[in-house]
């Protein structure tokens, strides 16, 4: 069972002044588009990857397989950046 979680030193935050979501990181930040923000808001260290995909599939009324592939590649990118562990 894969449970994505943020590594220490990486924080998801809503930027109220600019009304956007960002991941704050050591001496950098990653600006998120709406899709990435919707995924990461569900990353709480408890939900499994399947549960996250399932919720997004419901919300967007899109096929789970398609969502799963998008979510996975987005999370893999953040794994490479050190922000997320799977």
């Amino acid at each position: 069972m894969t449970v994505p979680r943020f590594n220490r030193g990486f924080r998801l935050r809503h930027d109220t002044v600019r009304d956007s979501w960002v991941v704050l990181a050591p001496e950098r930040l990653f600006a998120l588009d709406d899709h990435a923000a919707e995924v990461l808001k569900l990353v709480d260290g408890h939900r499994t990857l399947d549960e996250i995909t399932g919720l997004l599939s419901q919300n967007y009324q899109a096929p789970a397989a398609e969502i799963a592939s998008d979510v996975r590649s987005m999370l893999d990118d953040l794994v490479t950046k050190g922000a997320i562990q799977l």
């Binding site: 030193g9 924080r11 935050r13 930027d15 600019r18 050591p26 001496e27 930040l29 050190g82």
Partner: protein, 371 residues
């Protein structure tokens, strides 16, 4: 004349909070100004707490606590706590030599997010000599262990120059060994103390090329495990750096005495009354103060910047470097090969080709004797 529309600048993303100039080290390339502030001139606790509140309201997302040595401030925990309460991501930029286990635990409890630990070299003898503190290097190694044991993510910062570049592979290995998830290899920048010591620090072009190649290879070898950031000296470059990401675009700097600056070297610029957070809000300073608006954007630019395709990439380079090398802060940074003053860079590199002079260590100036 019809006034143009009032332009509201994008808010800053980061606050560089130079809490103090006090420091146990005396590095000869310190980014602090030559005239160091004394403890008695420092902004008080309430002042810093207000700065953090105002910074968060303005749109700042990250705060870098720097110095001097920020751990020299007795109220550091209170200040870090306030950053946390404001949702700010906090980064402690420290020499590490005064950190102990309870101190690190208290910083974690206060909500600190990340530590950047400075190293002067990969080995004791040279590290202690460059930092000007006997025993300093060993204390840094202990501090790194404490930081990682507390679970804090760590950046190992190595400032490199002609007197330590040959050990760059050892520095990269040391960074990885102490558990840094990020390693910063920063060539000395030549302002303030660095400019005073330029001939003792400037690498040759060959040294620079070897170091760049080593960093590129280490990036590939450590991909996915360690992020390596690399800061080059622009004396050998064809294009200037986008200093501070552009003047008054992304970062606001507060000095120990509470002056607000677009960059930490801006106090060298003549003809400005430097705004103080003691008498003005961060918002009004960022938006309206002449020091901030003077070089913001592209309207101020002379040729060759004004018509250059790179003008919104490098933002004309560095104002303080233009001033330091040409005497005029409003000209193209001489680091640019298109600058009519570009020959100054090659001349400085040639000057540094001889034997390295002794360091002028960073110290508080002795007050002049009254006679």
């Amino acid at each position: 004349m019809i006034p143009g529309p009032v332009r509201v600048p994008e808010p800053p993303l980061a606050l560089l909070a130079e809490l103090t100039h006090r420091c146990p080290l005396a590095c000869p390339y310190c980014a602090n100004p030559l005239d160091l502030e004394r403890a008695s001139a420092e902004l008080d606790t309430a002042g810093w707490l207000r700065v953090l509140d105002e910074a968060a309201a303005l749109g700042v997302l990250q705060v870098h606590f720097s110095g001097g040595e920020p751990c020299s401030r007795r109220d550091l925990l209170e200040i870090v706590s306030r950053a946390y309460a404001n949702g700010l991501y906090s980064n402690l930029i420290t020499s590490g030599v005064t950190l102990d286990e309870p101190g690190v635990a208290r910083l974690v409890a206060a909500g600190l997010d990340h530590v950047q630990l400075s190293f002067q070299d990969s080995e004791i003898e040279s590290g202690d000599r460059i930092g000007g503190l006997r025993g300093g290097h060993s204390k840094k190694l202990v501090a790194a262990g404490l930081i990682r044991a507390a679970g804090l993510p760590l950046t190992a910062n190595f400032v490199v120059h002609r007197q330590n570049l040959e050990r760059l592979p050892d520095m990269l290995a040391l960074g990885e060994r102490i558990g840094a998830s990020r390693i910063e290899i920063a060539h000395v920048q030549y302002y303030g103390w660095g400019l005073v010591n330029r001939a003792a620090l400037m690498p040759t072009l060959a040294q620079l090329e070897i170091s760049t190649d080593l960093v590129e290879r280490a990036r590939i070898a450590m991909h996915g495990r360690v992020t390596i950031d690399y800061v080059v000296p622009d004396y050998h470059a064809a294009r200037p750096k986008a200093c501070m990401g552009g003047w008054a675009r992304r970062i606001i700097n507060i000095t120990p005495a509470g002056l607000a600056l677009p960059c930490h070297a801006a106090e060298t610029l003549p003809g400005f009354v430097f705004p103080s957070v003691r008498t003005a809000s961060l918002q009004s300073i960022w938006r309206d103060n002449p020091l901030f608006t003077r070089f913001r954007g592209t309207d101020w630019m002379p040729e060759p910047c004004r018509s250059c395709d790179n003008r919104e990439i490098d933002w004309g380079g560095c104002r303080c470097q233009a001033l330091a090398l040409t005497g005029d802060a409003a000209v193209t940074d001489p680091a640019c090969s298109l600058s009519p003053d570009h020959h100054l860079m090659a001349e400085a590199v040639a000057d540094a080709a001889g034997p390295a002079p002794d360091f002028v260590y960073r110290r508080h100036r002795t007050p002049a004797l009254v006679t």
